[in-house]
């Protein structure tokens, strides 16, 4: 397997070791759906979610490696966002269990999940328009004494904490180059700046896992580079990142591991370079027949394959998938 070192350009902060750790840990994992990871932080087991007759998500087993960047890709309607919603408590599944660091996340409300250290962003950015950028940031801080109804009335209780939070917020804003905008209403920011703000706001809560739903959607290429740098920085700081993305270049650039979903199922897993060669993935994106007229040779070949398959089936029960074989 070609273990290509993923260049961490953009904002190299010196400590590349954690990134390498996750990558190295995942190096010898077979490219199989539902494969066990050496150090999983989130484990999903048998989670299903149906909307009427449509099965939006049906994941048998999925593990997310701690400290790595896991890309979640798949065609439209594959159930990526629904899976995000289930993992963060915004939606409840029909069945199944999922745990974070060994703690079950079932039946937890969104805010309880967030308090455990799993924060998310949204596909449609949710900047709080009529609050200033700085207020947006301060909202992200956890355990604020001044957020209680009665303690809010006694500024002495929360002033110090507020000051510390403001300092932390300004530091993050400087990192995301939004510090000049701190007193502007968030509603006046551009789409890309809102994405940055949402990510920075999520970081105010010192999360362990950051789940980004299409962080690059609608962001201009220049800003994409800086966003990518920020996502890599999260990994450097030891956070686990799960992100949904459509842009394959982005996915290839930053992911340590890629999970492909289609029609609610996980159809493939593996390092980014394994994905484009995976037949199931190609089929999921382009359709099994690629929607192109078959040439005679193709037709003959497929016929032969089908006959071979039938012959194999009549010999005995089918053995394994082709992906497992490709791993070595």
């Amino acid at each position: 397997m070609p273990a290509e070192p993923i260049p961490t350009g953009a904002t190299a902060s010196g400590g590349r070791a954690p990134a390498r750790l996750a990558q190295a840990a995942l190096r010898d994992i077979p490219w199989e759906v539902g494969v066990a990871k050496p150090d999983p932080t989130i484990v999903v087991d048998g989670v299903t979610r149906t909307f009427g007759g449509l099965t939006a998500v049906s994941v048998d087993h999925l593990e997310i490696q701690r400290g790595g960047i896991t890309g979640l890709i798949g065609p439209n309607g594959a159930g990526k966002t629904t899976l995000f919603n289930l993992l963060t408590g915004f939606d409840q599944p029909d069945g199944g269990t999922w745990t974070f660091d060994g703690r079950s996340l079932g039946k937890l409300a969104p805010h309880q999940v967030a308090r455990l250290g799993v924060v998310r962003t949204f596909q449609l950015t949710k900047a709080l328009s009529r609050l200033t950028v700085l207020q947006n940031m301060l909202l992200g801080a956890q355990g604020q004494k001044g957020e209680g109804f009665f303690s809010a009335l006694v500024p002495a209780l929360w002033r110090g904490q507020e000051r510390a939070n403001t300092e932390k917020a300004m530091e993050l804003l400087r990192r995301f180059k939004l510090d000049a905008k701190k007193d502007d209403f968030a509603g006046t920011l551009s789409g890309g700046q809102r994405k940055l703000l949402e990510m920075a706001r999520a970081l105010m809560s010192d999360p362990k896992v950051v789940m980004l739903d299409e962080p690059m959607a609608g962001v201009n290429p220049a800003l994409t580079q800086s966003l990518l740098g920020h996502v890599k920085d999260l990994r450097e700081e030891g956070m686990t990142v799960i992100f949904v993305e459509h842009d394959m270049d982005v996915v290839r650039d930053i992911s340590d591991w890629v999970v492909v979903m289609a029609a609610g199922n996980v159809i493939a897993e593996g390092p980014p370079e394994s994905i484009s060669q995976n037949q199931a993935v190609v089929d999921a994106y382009l359709g099994a027949h690629h929607d192109a007229p078959l040439t005679i040779e193709d037709e003959d070949r497929q016929l032969a394959e089908a006959e071979a398959a039938i012959a194999r089936e009549s010999d005995g029960p089918g053995t394994g998938t082709d992906q497992g074989g490709k791993a070595r």
Binding site: R130, G146, G148, A152, E162, S205
Partner: protein
């Protein structure tokens, strides 16, 4: 000219009277719920009804003390807020709006129904419960007082003074809350609940707190109104008052501490001045008899107010105290 100044004095008195206090307290409550938290309470008058009747029933029917009546009125408002909030605050904003508007109309009808007559005295209402309150006044309530060309009875002056004190305290409380991190959370809920949930805040609890607090302000408003008029009848608590309070809030500027207060004063001033001012203009012949008669005034004044509100929304949508940039953010 003299008539016109008299008309102005009448209007000023209306803008400072207990009716204005009533409207201001309703609007402060709505400001907490709608202006800051984004909750659509279209039945604020129901809380006022419970406040007013809380005192009236406790004192006149049950023979309890005035202060116990106040506590019962507030407790009833809290219970109503909880009942309305528990099922609806997990749902979209419209559900609370529907539930509150139905509760306001339903409560009024229940209070005036025949079967409730033993307690509420039906549509004739209850009176004679404010003696204990009036006796608390530090001045002689039997006399009439003249202040800046307006005349007040001692009792009216006492209700009004207590009322504006309550308004000041309520405004102070709102000010203290909204500048704190608590206020930041509720304003964020107004903008986007899910974002706030994703940041680890229990949105449901904050919405409930805001709903209860606003409802208690409404109940206090209802108490002042009941004490001012000296009686409570169910039809005093028409739900039109809720919308008048919304109009006052928007006139003053939503999500501003003093917006509802100044809005309510101005609202009553304008309503009264449109009436007394027009009458004086007709009586002095400035407006010819053929165009408008004094009997038309009662109808035409609301046309004028409506026109004024439309112009306000066109030229100053943020109200008197609002920030135009903030309002315009929604416009795209």
């Amino acid at each position: 000219m003299g008539e016109f100044i008299d008309a102005l004095a009448i209007a000023v008195k209306a803008g400072l009277g207990f009716q204005a206090v009533f409207l201001a307290l309703l609007a402060i409550g709505i400001n907490m719920q709608f202006g800051y938290t984004g909750l659509l309470n279209f039945g604020q008058i129901a809380f006022a009804l419970l406040g007013g009747y809380g005192i009236a029933i406790s004192v006149s029917q049950w023979g309890l003390s005035f202060w116990l009546g106040v506590l019962i009125g507030i407790a009833a408002a809290v219970v109503l807020a909880l009942l309305l909030g528990l099922p609806t605050l997990r749902l979209r904003a419209d559900y609370l709006a529907i539930a509150t508007i139905a509760a306001a109309e339903g409560l009024r009808l229940v209070f005036r129904s025949v079967s409730a007559t033993p307690v509420t005295n039906g549509s004739r209402g209850i009176s004679g419960f404010n003696r204990e309150f009036v006796e608390l006044a530090p001045w002689d309530t039997g006399r009439r007082y003249s202040i800046l060309g307006t005349f007040w009875s001692g009792a009216d002056l006492w209700v009004t003074a207590v009322g504006w004190t309550l308004v000041a305290l309520a405004s102070l409380l709102v000010w203290g809350l909204v500048r704190s991190p608590w206020g930041r959370v509720v304003r964020s809920i107004r903008e986007d609940e899910d974002a706030v949930r994703a940041l680890g805040k229990n949105v449901y609890v904050y919405k409930m707190q805001a709903l209860v607090l606003g409802g208690v302000f409404g109940a206090l408003g209802g108490m002042i109104y009941a004490l001012g008029t000296g009686s409570t009848t169910p039809d005093q608590y028409q739900n039109a008052n809720t919308f008048l309070a919304y109009a006052a809030l928007i006139l003053g500027g939503a999500a501003r501490v003093l917006g509802p207060v100044v809005g309510a004063m101005l609202m009553y001033f304008i309503i009264q001045f449109a009436d007394s001012g027009l009458r004086s203009l007709i009586e002095t012949g400035v407006i010819p008899e053929g165009l408008l008669t004094t009997t038309d005034v009662a109808q035409i004044r609301f046309v004028i107010i409506g026109l004024g509100l439309i112009l306000l929304l066109v030229f100053r949508p943020q109200g008197i105290f609002g920030d135009r940039r903030e309002v315009m953010l929604d416009a795209r």
